[in-house]
Amino acid sequence: MIKKYYRPQSLPDAFLLLNKPNTIPLAGGTYITTEINSEFNVVDLQDLGLDKVVVQNQKIEIGSTTKLQQLHQNQHIPEFFRTAIKLEAPLNIRNSASLGGLLVTCDGRSPVATSLLALDARIILDPDREEILISNFFSFRSSITRKRLITSIILPSLQNFSFAYVARTPFDRPIVSTAMSMWMNGRSRLALGGYGAQPLLVIDGQILDDISLAARSAFSNAEDEWASAYYRSEMAGVLATRCLKIIKNKFGKQ
């Protein structure tokens, strides 16, 4: 239950407020408004100008309060990442939910989180503008965001990216998803989603001979009420191969 609402006009003011006890940032509100089991104060970030998407030096810096739909419509966002954004939530929620809020609250079923992991996104935490690798962020997000604020998310460089998934319907939450990035120097990142508390990074480096095997192994225990580990593991292999094929077919000539 929300006890106090603040809407600061500057980042320093926001940090002062966030240092108060039981006070948390409020970006879109799609998660916080449904949280009724505890009492806390909120700091609304909407007037802080954190909703810009800036492309500079081949990097995309996305303000943390950028709405998912805003991101989906941005021409600089890779096509397959836009697909993942659309899968994340229906339109109305995408119009409210922020990228920063999603990173704090998402689980492994999140297509956007899986994509960001493959894209090697960096999380900028203020007030000290600490840059954190997304893989580290997921592991420690509850502790490292305490009294701090995600102010932006950086996609390091424009890269080749693909995303594939299996779901019960075209826009249902995926049971298994794979996201893959490939840079000009051959470095690749493969992430798996659709399971667990956070997406899983499988490959970061040169592409393996058998990407399918790596993906299958990574999900060999990925069993829950939605799918067996056997199925998820096999699908991870199929979809990883598909992602690689898409990248090669689509971007191979670059």
Binding site: N41, V42, I93, S96, V166, R168, T169, F171, M235, R242
Partner: protein
Amino acid sequence: MNINLLINGVQSDFTVSPGDTLFTVLRKAGYYSIKFGDEHGFSGVDTVLLDGDPINSGLILAAQAEGHKIVTAEALGDFPDQGWKKTEGLHPLQLAFIETGAIQCGYCTPAQLLASKALLDKNPNPTEEDIREALSGVLCRCTGYQKPVEAVLVAASKMRNDIPFESSSNLMVPTDSKNDFKTVGKPAIKSDAVKLAQGKPAFTADIEMKGMLFAKVLFSPHAHARIRSIDTCRAGALPGVAVILTWKDIPRVVYSTAGQSDPIPGPLDTFSLDNKVRFVGDRVAFVAAESIEIAEKAIKLIKVDYELLDPVLNSSAAQRDGAPILHDEPEYQNFANSNPQKNLAAEIRIDIGDVEKGFSEADEIIEEDYEVSKVQQAHLEPHVVVTYWDADDRLVIRTSTQVPFHVRRVLAPVLNLPIKRIRVIKPRIGGGFGGKQEILIEDIAAHLTIATKRPVILEYTREDEFIASRSRHPMKIHMKTGVKKDGTITANEMVVLSNTGAYGCHALTVTGNTGHKSMALYIGDGKYRKSPNIRFYADVVYTNTPPSGAFRGYGVPQGFWPLERHMEIIANKLGLDPLEFRQKNTIRAGEFHPFSTVWNEGREPRPEVINTVGLEECVRQGKLAIGWDQKYNNQSWHSNHHNSHKSSIRKGIGVALVMQGTAIPYLDMGGASIKMNDDGSFNLLVGATDLGTGSDTVLGQMAAEILGVPLDDIITYSSDTDFTPFDKGAYASSTTYVSGTAVVQAAKLVAERIRIRAAELLKATEHDLIILMDRKAISPDGRFVYYTDIALSTLHHFKQEQIMAVASFVAENSPPPFAAQFAEVSVDTETGQIVVDKLVMAVDSGQIINPSTAFGQIEGGMTQALGYALCEEMVYDNSGKAREKDFLNYHIFRANEMPELISIFVETKEPSHPFGVKAVAEIPMDGVAPAIGNAIWDAIGVEIKTLPITPEKIWRALKSKNSNHIKTNNLQ
């Protein structure tokens, strides 16, 4: 805190709590167009525009909205004629939604309108894909999105002054000579569409009363437990708590929550509150408080000491020796063969003909097992009720129900009130689909009103709906069929194990219909036509899971999944054409409904001949629409693809034939009253319950046809137990047929009085030659008198009388609609992912009264059935806790992921109804899943026998097929 909001162009100050959502503040301020659908924003019915974009008002704090431009549906447009004041009229989008039939229950309509407005403001010339994307944030459980999409296309073309958009996806095929009806058979605007398009306060929760209390229920966290004690001291001491009720506080009256006619055809096994809980979500205590927040807080402070009991969580375990018994209460009242000692809520044993002899005459006997899942109605308006004492100390129950008269009758003993001291009012209903054929929460609010003397509102959350309301019965089905080599069915057997959950509401009747409707379709050929051999056995068992109940189709979809998958399997095994094999064995006009001689929902059976069967034409039309002859058995088409990983995609096509019923003969009764007003208009009062289907309009059309007036002159009202005649309610596909006949009969009586009085005014000798048309009574010589003059004369001038009549009707038939349902699918052989590309349904519908609403029923039904086939499922863990508690995990198809839908009406003329109607609202549920299952077989050659058809099931079946293939090859 104080905030200032700009709403619909007007700045207003509000004092709010920091945690108040925009939804809460707007609803309190009277913006009733915004609805509650769920806690997480997935339904989208709480949509407002914030700076032009659709967002969920329930997911944003009111304080966050300060400084932004808020638009609600109230700002779109008004009814143009407000007496001496005129308005600018309705918005083109509102008009288009009204005129295209895009509004069914109307609960999501304001949200859809706003989403569409946001689109058209930015893109005046959208594609269908753009529109589907724009509407994808708002769930609609009624329409299948087809008509809303058409409405936006129509509005967009009008706003651009472009060529008007016209739909081409639907077809009407009359099989009889053309009629000369004026109103019947014509698309008519739904009588409630204008108010729903404006978001007027038409629903149960759209009311505020002084001193209203808010109710919450403490639900059991255990699947099976006895309550040792409940401590409500801390909760009761919380400021703002008015009352807490536990099982010790209210009378212990056993009843059934099923909304059915007297006597209830099922066991009485339920108490408002009991000292035993039988599923996670069962009731433990009721709280009424000054606010929802206080009630929720109080719920958390109630301390319950449970003695945990072993639960029974699946139907097979329920029948084992030594299984824990759910119903050991001494008050339990059996119905028919129910036996609580064996966890048996109902038992059905039906043998028609000599089944064993039939099997002995077969060349092949084919047996398979099938399974259907538990799914929920998921009406977007949750269960909601308001109760209060009126000035005469009568208890008023304003409730979103399909069965207002049953609510009154069933609750009277539970509340210890005579029926005459209860009044039930049914406002507009935001969808029901059977979920509101249940007296689910009315007793809770009523007990709290009795305890506090104050008005009480209880509205379930979406989580409450998932854990504590009703669902479709999950079933395990064994099929055994004897067939001759030429495809003649010699005997057909279905044995069902049905899971009623913790209580036996609808246990017997739902499962009875599983066999009664599906197993009647194929009677065999030749000598078997006169003497079919059919067996239907069912055990309906209690388990510690949420109770099952009525859901559109009422057990029949559960029957057609196994039956139509089985027919396909038989055709494949015998090398027969699947359609020729089916049509050889289907029931024909003039033959007895085989079950009518032996079973009638727990009542006396009476033989019934089927008058019309339009199945052959349905098959012909459906085949044409889906391109069956070009696609079936066409190998190049099967590997036709438009996908990047194209080599893995296989296409398939499938069919299912189905039948349903129309009302319950010798039981279902509907009443209607019609009275003439001073201006020649008429009030039509019906107890029938329009739950968004448009039945008020359809009934009005029938009255208008008989009375010779436009539909506009019929003011239909439903339903209020104080004012409207009895009607058993909206279920069993009976309203158009049963209530419609009552309306026609009442209208005929009124017409007769009009003719007599007109003859007097015209000084005509033979009143029965007078024709009623265009608001006039016309004598054979061409002289006429206007209705206004007849009305003024009869009410004011001469031999004054109120021209009015009441009539009622009980059906003696249950004429089945028939249908051919087709599906076209694409299956990814590497992942098992399936995409349904197209659904076609050709229905033997009888005379369609209102094509606009009827097509909407078909499209919406097919969409629900699509979810049943692919993604809807309620799953429980080992402790009985639900996996699905929201619309994220319980996925309902959205506008942007729908296949193409084609609906066709084959209009036979059912002789037992004055206009020749049959029912069409339930039958679309029956054939989609098996048609998809059969299409998967066609695409990749695997048999899926359980619902839903998930990618993993398909993939595993393929894997198993491939490994068997390898084994076979190795052996060779």
